[in-house]
Symmetry: C2
Subunit: 414 residues, 2 copies
Amino acid sequence: MLSARETAGRIAAGETTAAIELARSAALIDELEPKIRAFASRPGELAAGTGPLAGIACGVKDIIDTADLPTRMGSPIYERWRPRADASIVMALKAAGATVAGKTHTTAFAFLDPAPTRNPHDLTASPGGSSAGSAAAVAAGMIPLAVGTQTGGSVIRPAAYCGAAAIKPSYALLPTVGVKAFSWSLDTLGLMAASADDLSFALAAIIGRAELDASAANLKGLRIGLHRQGFAGAPEPASELALQHFRKLATEADATLVELADEAALAEAFHAHGPLQDYEAKHALAWEYAEHRDLLPPKLRAYLDTAKAATAESYDEARRVSREGRRAAHTAFREVDVVVSYAAPGEAPDTLESTGDSRFNRLWTLLGVPCVTVPLIRGPRGLPVSIQIIAGFGHDESVIAVAKGLEKLVAPVG
Amino acid sequence: MLSARETAGRIAAGETTAAIELARSAALIDELEPKIRAFASRPGELAAGTGPLAGIACGVKDIIDTADLPTRMGSPIYERWRPRADASIVMALKAAGATVAGKTHTTAFAFLDPAPTRNPHDLTASPGGSSAGSAAAVAAGMIPLAVGTQTGGSVIRPAAYCGAAAIKPSYALLPTVGVKAFSWSLDTLGLMAASADDLSFALAAIIGRAELDASAANLKGLRIGLHRQGFAGAPEPASELALQHFRKLATEADATLVELADEAALAEAFHAHGPLQDYEAKHALAWEYAEHRDLLPPKLRAYLDTAKAATAESYDEARRVSREGRRAAHTAFREVDVVVSYAAPGEAPDTLESTGDSRFNRLWTLLGVPCVTVPLIRGPRGLPVSIQIIAGFGHDESVIAVAKGLEKLVAPVG
């Protein structure tokens, strides 16, 4: 994979130029795109910007508005659509000097119907979803940085399946203005990169928060909670092995590991994700459903056929349960420095018909808390298997620091 | 003014039809528009829908996306702009049977540079802003219902200046998907109508919450807090007279009036509105500012020239103070049934160069709590002067019920 920090460092040292690095990414995309199918559209040329991310080619998920490129939402309904303005995140990328290398494939409206993208580790395996193109483009080494969105598990899951690092920051840390809404209480922008260290570098530059480029944590003395999310069902053996591997590494590094129980309030919050999303998706996609139902892909169409029955009562109850869950998480997170859990049920599904399962991601999206995923081991089919590091709302620097500390203990597996 | 409930009742009784009522609104718009200038664009014909709001012609503020009409944001930057999809609120209006009678003039991007709209009570006075066209169209009797948005005071203030009733519901009660963002933590959709009773009828129908069509409250025995918002400065005499008039009516109706102090946490939250909005507006309008600064009107341009210096630190502090304010409000609101305060500093400004002042509205927008305004008296220049009724987050039915109860005690002044 291409390292954003290393690339920027070489440019700063005069060993290369932003134009050369952008041309390198463009050539890599040209070469790998027929195989990976990560990009929905690309600009004619990549012009270098000015700032800490100058020379960094960035993929932007195709539900994010761009004034200079189509924004198709993964749907024929938006086939010829060109927004008027860039989304806030696109302007933030540009202000930091990054260059949009293209719009990356998304599942239609960021739901579950697969995008055309392939997993770079196995072209017959799922790259995950919904931010499939962003994860695959980074993991394939085409570009050092990509933007995705997560409403269930759409940043962490595809990154884990493709073996990229990713962060889903605290809710609304990255502004979602100009991002197609699916569920406004849940929709969260995130980043994919080659490593947690690269995420740290890029996130701090994009949002102008230097403290997010935190130093790697020394795991010694940290209290780390292990959370198996029993309410979400059991993982495949590969994900349990990844968690065990993490436990071994952290124990050897003199961290204190604590097994966390499945608190009732968190289990209830996990189950509130569905009704919360149903009500909001019904409103967010009301026009598409009313005017173009026949053009919606089958899973999304069936979902909205059901979601249209969502009531204000079930929504209010889901919001109440979510608030209780946030309170419980606030208390639970005070007892530990970070929490570690499965990033996904296992290796990427051995099919292009499914984008996998977000059940180990949905609770954290609902709570709005920051998550970083890093690949740790290889699974039985040779694909990367990742864990995710989670902290309390607003403690984005903690998940970044611990992920960077963990990276120092392992050989790259992405 | 045209009553939404009365219109719907006559249609249901067979005394008129939806088509006739829509034609009536269209004719009234044709007649009054040269004078009022409320509409930015209008459809060729008004087709009747099906549902409780069939026959109700509704104005939609021109920062709200419509697939069938231009959406100009009050700015030449969007002069020929036509969104792909209807905003969620437009779909909710249509699902309830209402018909979009046109897009109503907004100040550019809902900021402070005046729209071309006039105040129906005095064509040389301000209609307020930013939802100027929505308030004026309802107050002039062109249409029975209009949608606006409030980030500071942009629903309650123009309604008060024009003598219409209006509700700014709890934050996110009405979904803002497809509404041009200015400050995502503050932007709130609201409704204007002829009376609180009409608001109650329309809001319940639009959002499918029957309980919001609450019965009029009997003021007898209610505990009502009077809040003068000293931290926002003194009002003009007319607004103080309106509050005194409310006190007299409520006392005669055997309500218990309680003078509320200016709590420190609320005063601090009032002052946090600025830094919160600055940071979010900088991101929300980043494209317009970077690409089309010269096309921005002077007040907005100067504002963004300043807001670009907003830091993450000041934003985080403003969010912290906002959370403290919400906690303080939650406690304060427990002591009373509703709070009553000034809706605006006084009568509409005697100029078309200013949209007036949102200082008595900003705190409640920041807190996300529901507000209803109703006109109570006439000021020295003969213009309506209103109060606003406020309750705790989620208690929209309380402000509606009290406003309806109050309406029964006064002769219409709008």
